[in-house]
């Protein structure tokens, strides 16, 4: 294509750079997922989809909430980075075909294929990626993805891997409450300390933030990664079922439908004191009445639980209530009036609930994506949510990095052998707040081997923990005195061994044959749009250089190319771009000559370059 590409070697091409630089924000939620991007300085929501993936024989559908069988996966976020022994938090887990694995990782058998939560989650991301590409009319390969502040290292890594599988480069994982605060802070310049109370579908997160000019500093986080609005739905459903006393067998499909109905009743109770509803239980229909009082009584302990975590966060931070400027409510479940009521009663702190709790997290992610690609004065300082350390003699958990330490963070500790002649030392990496190793989450286990046999306590094993700005951990260990420093580096991968991850990425690349075609199409479309916008602008300015006949030919070809773009036919677009290129060649050359002549008449070179580069 020879369309006015007169640039000095090494000179920047602004439009190319922007094409590379576009990054979206994604809120990968338990119930719903959203993509957002900054447009004209403010975040806009590109798409919102139910976090449900259905595997049909020949296609994968995202967002279809209506069916509930062994090929439809919802709330998959609750399984991210989990092992089989930790699956209790996953509702109606028994309907799926589990595959037994030796390493304790979770996988499902679907249509003869083995699927992991990471792969299922990546389908949601792929969906949002393609929606964003359609919206932006260009390839999107970078994203900021939000995770619950209380997500452990395993779940963070799993999320990052899912993004890689979806063809997204993760610029940064940010915590959901922090993202909410970012979105909030953009309209509000008030400085001070705020608490973000984030009750999502499947997780409950608390963050204490210090908002200063240009800096968002997370001071502490707390919460429960296995508690959310879904649990409130369950409570209500249990209540409804005891009310109607049906002996109908609860199939997964029926259960799913009942959950939907319970959720609807919950939502309606936010605006009504009493709900009369016809509950459908399969073929049965029962009239039921639920009052707000009954509902509040049901969920009271759950709300108290969240409030106790909030009080604890304040005490742990050695803060007085008066030092906190506000509590910001985030997450759809915070629409339940009782939450605000109880918070106002317990704390004399202003409550902010004026932003849409459903979209605020995705918007914050888009803001951070923009900051990281386009640069900004805004800096985000985050903390590690749970303590990290290793197991020492007696099965004790020895903390190396304490929870709520700011990240990035590098820390080294020295350990030694306890037996004479010991030639190896096992490093068991753990995360958690309990005192015993067995009560903490095991992240990785590796051995520093071939140590020189020495007296107990003579060896000096240095263990280095390094957490990057995404909150992801790398552990290194070596013996200090050995002539040969053997360094072992481990990135915890939880149940999924490296080979498996590589195989997954490989098969992702294989499946990527389609993705490559899609990518090629997107590049063609991007190029076509670039060409069209340049040409149209130039024609607007300099149409006098060519005859009406020639102009008409070019205009017709522009329309043909636009049609080809809308049909998304790669070959056709390619062909029509070339045709347009050929047709406009004369105009382009005339234009160059026109401006070169002008230059000779004393116009500045800069001005001419500006014209050509525009």
């Amino acid at each position: 294509m020879n369309l006015i590409q007169i640039t000095e070697p090494g000179a920047r091409n602004v439009s190319d750079k922007q094409a590379d630089g576009v990054a979206i924000g994604i809120d990968l939620g338990t119930t719903n997922s959203l993509a957002s991007v900054i447009k004209d300085g403010a975040p806009v929501i590109i798409d919102k989809v139910a976090s449900v993936v259905r595997y049909n024989k020949n296609e994968i559908l995202v967002g279809n909430n209506s069916s509930n069988d062994d090929i439809t996966f919802s709330s998959i976020k609750r399984l991210m980075g989990k092992s089989q022994s930790e699956m209790t938090s996953f509702r109606s887990i028994e309907k799926y075909n589990f595959e037994d694995s030796k390493d304790g990782s979770i996988s499902f058998k679907v249509n003869g294929k083995t699927l992991t939560p990471v792969e299922i989650s990546s389908e949601i991301l792929k969906y949002l990626k393609s929606k964003s590409e359609a919206f932006l009319q260009r390839e999107v390969s970078k994203a900021v993805i939000t995770v619950p502040a209380y997500f452990d290292d395993a779940a963070r890594n799993a999320t990052k891997l899912a993004a890689n599988l979806a063809g997204l480069d993760v610029l940064r994982l940010i915590n959901e409450p922090t993202a909410a605060a970012l979105a909030y802070g953009i309209d509000d310049t008030c400085e001070g300390k705020y608490i973000i109370y984030d009750l999502g579908g499947g997780t409950f997160d608390l963050s204490l933030l210090n908002m200063q000019k240009g800096v968002f500093q997370v001071l502490a986080t707390s919460g429960d990664a296995n508690f959310g609005g879904d649990d409130i739905d369950s409570k209500l459903l249990e209540f409804l079922l005891t009310q109607i006393q049906s002996d109908q067998k609860l199939t997964p499909n029926l259960l799913s439908s009942l959950f939907g109905q319970a959720r609807k009743i919950k939502e309606d109770l936010s605006f009504n004191d009493k709900i009369n509803s016809a509950l459908e239980i399969g073929t049965l229909v029962r009239e039921i009445t639920v009052t707000k009082e009954q509902f509040n009584l049901l969920i009271d302990p759950a709300i108290d639980y969240t409030i106790s975590l909030l009080s604890q966060l304040i005490t742990d931070s050695s803060l007085e209530q008066s030092e906190i400027k506000g509590i910001v409510l985030v997450g759809g479940a915070t629409r339940i009036p009782l939450i605000k009521q109880k918070l106002s009663k317990k704390f004399s702190i202003t409550i902010y609930d004026n932003l849409n709790p459903d979209t605020i997290v995705a918007e914050g992610a888009a803001i951070q994506a923009h900051t990281l690609t386009k640069g900004s004065d805004q800096l985000l300082l985050d903390v590690v949510p749970l303590s990290l350390g290793i197991e020492i003699m007696g099965g004790i958990f020895d903390r190396i990095i304490n929870k709520n330490s700011p990240i990035p963070m590098i820390k080294e500790e020295e350990f030694t052998t306890y037996e004479d002649g010991q030639t190896g030392i096992t490093i068991h990496v753990l995360q958690g707040e309990r005192e015993l190793a067995k009560d903490c989450r095991s992240l990785a286990k590796f051995t520093v081997a071939n140590l020189p046999a020495m007296k107990a306590g003579a060896l000096r094993i240095i263990v280095n923990f390094s957490i990057d700005a995404d909150g992801i951990l790398t552990v290194t260990a070596y013996e200090k005195n050995s002539h040969e420093k053997q360094i072992i580096e481990v990135k915890p991968s939880y149940g999924m061994d490296l080979e498996k991850i590589q195989a997954m990425l490989k098969s992702a690349h294989k499946n990527a044959a389609d993705d490559i075609n899609a990518k090629k199409l997107m590049e063609l479309i991007t190029n076509a749009y670039k060409m069209l916008s340049q040409l149209e602008m130039q024609l607007k300015e300099d149409r006098h250089l060519i005859s009406t006949k020639e102009l008409k030919k070019i205009d017709t070809q522009i329309t043909i190319l636009q049609e080809a773009i809308s049909k998304k036919n790669a070959d056709k677009i390619d062909c029509e771009i070339k045709k347009l290129d050929k047709l406009s060649e004369n105009f382009v050359n005339l234009r160059i000559n026109f401006y070169l002549n002008k230059t000779l008449k004393g116009k500045s070179v800069n001005e001419v370059e500006q014209k050509f580069l525009s």
Partner: protein
């Protein structure tokens, strides 16, 4: 105080790796080319503070945030690998320095560590004097036996008073440069802080007992 005379090259002078500009005050960010430099600094250097026990918390925070705005890895995503790694390292160091220096006990212990006196680690096995231990165990028993929140509040207030007194001592000893005394007081402070944690824990237990909903 400046001395007049002919300037000579100082061989130990820090130079910016990128532009060879002299880094007179061991600046991390070169004030000429803005490259981020590597070096050996203590936590006070890092946050541009004098080595002192009595520090203003606002100044610590202000310097910390200013430094993070310069060295946080987010600012170096398009820079060279070397600078990215240095940014990661410095951002971590700034975090560590902030974590240590904003806490008065850790700050005191760190000043002692700079002078070669280590009291801060559980592994050091520095045992407090018998008398202190007896006092601590007695208070711990009181906390465990406390039957209601009022009783606990009294113990808590006493403990807070002791803590304040201990830190006043620490401050005085540092001013007199009497490091060994400062060390003993800091050990005492550590035990009193542990009691404070136990009081908080016990408070939560008592609160939960009085609220049957939990």
């Amino acid at each position: 105080m400046k001395k007049a005379g002919v300037a000579v090259a100082n061989p130990s002078l820090h130079k910016c790796f990128s532009c060879d500009n002299n880094l007179l005050n061991k600046e991390i960010i070169c004030n000429y080319c803005a490259a981020i430099n590597d070096g050996d600094y203590n936590f006070f250097d890092i946050l541009s503070l004098d080595v002192a026990f009595n520090l203003n918390n606002e100044e610590i925070e202000k310097n910390y945030l200013r430094l993070q705005k310069q060295v946080h890895p987010d600012n170096y995503s398009t820079k060279s690998k070397r600078e990215q790694e240095t940014a990661f390292k410095y951002s971590s160091l700034a975090n560590e320095a902030y974590h240590i220096l904003k806490n008065r006990r850790l700050r005191g212990e760190y000043i002692l560590a700079l002078s070669g006196i280590r009291v801060n680690s559980d592994r050091d096995n520095v045992l407090p004097p018998q008398e202190l231990l007896r006092e601590i165990f007695a208070t711990r028993d009181h906390v465990q036996d406390a039957g209601n929140l009022t009783e606990l509040m009294t113990i808590s207030q006493e403990n807070e008073k002791s803590l304040q007194k201990t830190f006043d001592d620490v401050s005085l000893y540092f001013q007199q440069n009497s490091l060994n005394h400062a060390a003993s007081s800091l050990i005492k402070a550590r035990y009193l802080e542990k009691i404070k944690e136990e009081i908080n824990l016990k408070t939560r237990i008592l609160q939960n007992e009085s609220n049957p909903n939990h």
